[in-house]
């Protein structure tokens, strides 16, 4: 690996990364338990009061996305810091904003019983509420803190990448694609694949966070002065421009696990190619407008936007997944790689990404969306690529590092048990969403109509099996972390 920094700089980068990852995965574990409560309640294993259900669902949704964002941003920060030294003070400022934001959100939900979900679709958080007004304020302030932290991260990374690669042209590999021959002959090299992941996260993250701040501040103004009315369609557009992009970017952050982690497992290298660069351009351009698919069923929205929405959804998702996964499989194929927990998670994550992405693309097709919009198909697809994609990339990256650091191995039995738990349990959990969704069971129902509860039963069993696999993996991670370092990785 090309390393532009000394050992001390690398150690500082690692400290930032592990601070972010440990915090992110701790929140993740908590939210996993909340998720199981929700599904168990839908299965009528016990009865959560509807108000409690929606408060917990609000917490679960925003908490999970923030958890994965925090660990993804930490990983990318570390990788960018290897290329061009970054000021870690900035990383800790952003980090404290994330922590403060999550704390405010928890207070809003646990003490105030806020329950208008992460979407807080105007005018919902103000009409027919069952929680005090201050809880809405605390929620808004919490999410705004997270957005501000995210914006700071984006600004720092963007600045560093622009300087390191000599402007947008170099950073995005424009000459590398458009004047390829001259570029290659001059002996220059395009940015490494994970730098595209960082750049796209920073650029689209900045735009999305700006949209989020805009609508968040507008909601805050309305909270302070209810006579200031907002337009619901405007608010909805901005809400999803932020929310959809934010959720998608967690994937593009975690993907660094493939670009950097898989080469460590396979002792091969992942090169930037013209196709990969073009695919990232497609994501860069379209991920920010792919959210139009959240408004397919708003016929009042300009029609042209609907027509753009479908193709933008395809182009944001398809090229980058087909090229990245193709490259990942090519790395593994006949490499003589040995399966470890790290390589297993990274490879399985690619499968989850492909499967969840395909389910998403189906639902992003308007004639299909007419029947599936806001059914359980939707949590089906995003839990697939988050739980069996982003989370696995994150865990894979953690294990690859722990394995390299300690030289420790996990027994085949434990690996199998973790695999059966996390993928077998996960499959049951996810399949139930798809089957119920295709049968028309709506999402976000505290009490579901038939056949919802039947599938919720299977899903809860699956989620518990998954939890067992996750606990086993976590204890294995702690065991590896406590082993004496064999050598310094990377």
């Amino acid at each position: 690996m090309s390393t532009a920094i000394d050992d001390a700089g690398d150690r500082r980068g690692k400290r930032v990364m592990w601070t972010y990852i440990v915090c992110g995965l701790s929140i993740f574990t908590l939210m996993l338990l909340v998720g199981i409560l929700l599904r168990g309640s839908q299965a009528a294993w016990f009865a959560l009061d509807a108000g409690v259900f929606y408060s917990l669902l609000s917490l679960h949704g925003v908490g999970m996305l923030t958890a994965l964002t925090i660990s993804g941003l930490g990983t990318l920060w570390y990788l960018v810091n290897r290329e061009t030294p970054l000021n870690e003070g900035v990383a800790y400022v952003a980090f404290s904003l994330f922590v403060g934001g999550v704390a405010a959100v928890i207070v809003s939900v646990v003490v105030g019983h806020y329950g208008a979900l992460w979407t807080m679709l105007y005018p919902l958080p103000f009409v027919g509420t069952y929680w005090p007004s201050w809880a809405t304020g605390a929620w808004l302030i919490g999410t705004l803190l997270v957005m501000v932290g995210f914006t700071i991260w984006c600004a720092q990374i963007l600045g560093a990448l622009v300087v390191r690669f000599g402007g947008l042209n170099g950073m995005l590999g424009i000459d590398y694609v458009l004047r390829n021959r001259a570029f290659v002959q001059s002996g220059k090299e395009p940015p490494a694949p994970e730098m595209f992941a960082a750049a796209i996260t920073a650029i689209d993250g900045f735009i999305a966070a700006t949209a989020g701040l805009l609508v968040g501040i507008a909601l805050l103004v309305h909270w302070l002065d209810p006579t200031v009315a907002l337009d619901p369609l405007w608010a909805k557009n901005l809400t999803y421009m932020f929310g959809h992009t934010f959720a998608n970017l967690t994937m593009y952050m975690a993907v660094a696990g493939i670009y950097v982690g898989l080469p460590l497992c396979t002792k091969r290298s992942y090169h930037t190619s013209v196709q990969l660069t073009v695919a990232w351009w497609a994501t860069l351009t379209f991920v920010i407008i792919a959210y139009f698919h959240h408004l397919y069923m708003d016929f009042a929205q300009a029609q042209s936007v609907q027509y753009i929405g479908e193709i933008a959804s395809y182009l944001a998702a398809i090229p980058v997944v087909v090229v990245t996964v193709y490259g990942g499989v090519l790395l593994v194929h006949r490499s003589g790689m040995r399966w470890t927990l790290g390589s297993m998670f990274l490879f399985a994550g690619m499968i989850g990404w492909v499967v969840g992405g395909f389910a998403a693309v189906l639902d992003a097709t308007i004639p299909v969306n007419v029947d599936l919009h806001n059914t359980l198909w939707v949590p089906g697809h995003f839990h697939t690529y988050l739980l069996e994609g982003v989370v696995l990339f994150t865990l894979g990256w953690v294990f690859v590092n722990l394995e390299a650091r300690s030289g420790g191995q996990t027994s085949a039995l434990v690996r199998w048990l973790v695999g059966v738990g996390m993928f077998g349990g996960g499959a049951l959990f996810l399949l139930s969403f798809y089957l119920a969704g295709a049968a028309g069971v709506p999402r976000r129902y505290a009490v579901e109509p038939a056949p919802g509860p039947f599938f919720a039963n299977i899903a809860t069993i699956g989620a518990l099996v998954l939890l067992a696999g996750f606990i086993l993996a976590a204890s294995e991670a702690l065991r590896l972390a406590r082993l004496k370092p064999a050598h310094v990785p990377l």
Binding site: Y54, G115, A116, T119, L121, L124, G128, L233, K236, R268, S269, S273, Q275, L295, M297, D298, F299, A300, Q303, Q306, Y307, I311, Y314, I318, P319, Y326, G327, L330, V332, H333, R334, S335, G336, M337, F347, M350, I351, V354, V355, F358, A359, T365, I366, P367, V368, V370, D371, L372, H373, T375, Y434, G437, A438, A439, G440, P442, R444, Y445, V447, P449
Partner: protein
């Protein structure tokens, strides 16, 4: 498009993808190749694979456009219009809607966002549209099966969202 067909397509493709990827990962791992031996062929296939998926994506896009629901509502100017008003936590609906006749639902909401999801007598979603305050969404439908249709709210609208429903008869 019928959701059960979509489900089948999804399951078949998902299983194929899983089997293919696992096979590629485990195939002859005990006799490794140098990366350079693999990339020569692999990169050639990649170009083909990249452009093929893009062409398929554009083809699917083109094929699905005629089935978009937006024009239909505009085209049915002569259809009978029925007003639908959603409000926490119920719908104001027509009691009866004619069979085999193009109708348009003019859907809006009084307080917050709701969803107007129509379930046929067999319990399947046949179509839907959002109900948004200050806006009216026009949903064109022609019912071809008589019976009692249930309406469920398909946008989270508050604590009793799951209980928000209504019904009308098609005859």
């Amino acid at each position: 498009m019928d959701s059960s067909v979509v489900l089948k397509i999804f399951l078949v493709v998902a299983v194929l993808a899983i089997v293919l990827l696992l096979w590629l990962a485990n195939y002859r791992q005990s006799t490794p190749l140098a990366q350079s031996d693999l990339t020569a062929r692999g990169y050639g296939i990649r170009r083909y694979w990249f452009w093929c998926t893009l062409i398929v994506a554009f083809a699917v896009y083109a094929i699905t456009i005629p089935a978009f629901p937006y024009r239909k509502a505009q085209a049915s100017v002569n259809a009978r219009h029925y007003s639908v008003i959603a409000q926490q936590y119920g719908f104001t609906l027509p009691a009866v809607v004619p069979l085999d006749t193009p109708v348009v639902f003019d859907v809006t909401a009084k307080d917050v966002n709701h969803g107007f999801g129509i379930y046929d007598p067999g319990g399947r979603v046949i179509t839907q549209v959002q109900a948004m305050p200050l806006y009216v969404n026009h949903l064109a439908v022609t019912f071809t099966v008589p019976g009692r249709y249930r309406v469920r709210c398909l946008e989270f609208c508050g604590i009793a969202h799951a209980a928000m429903q209504g019904s009308f008869d098609v005859k």
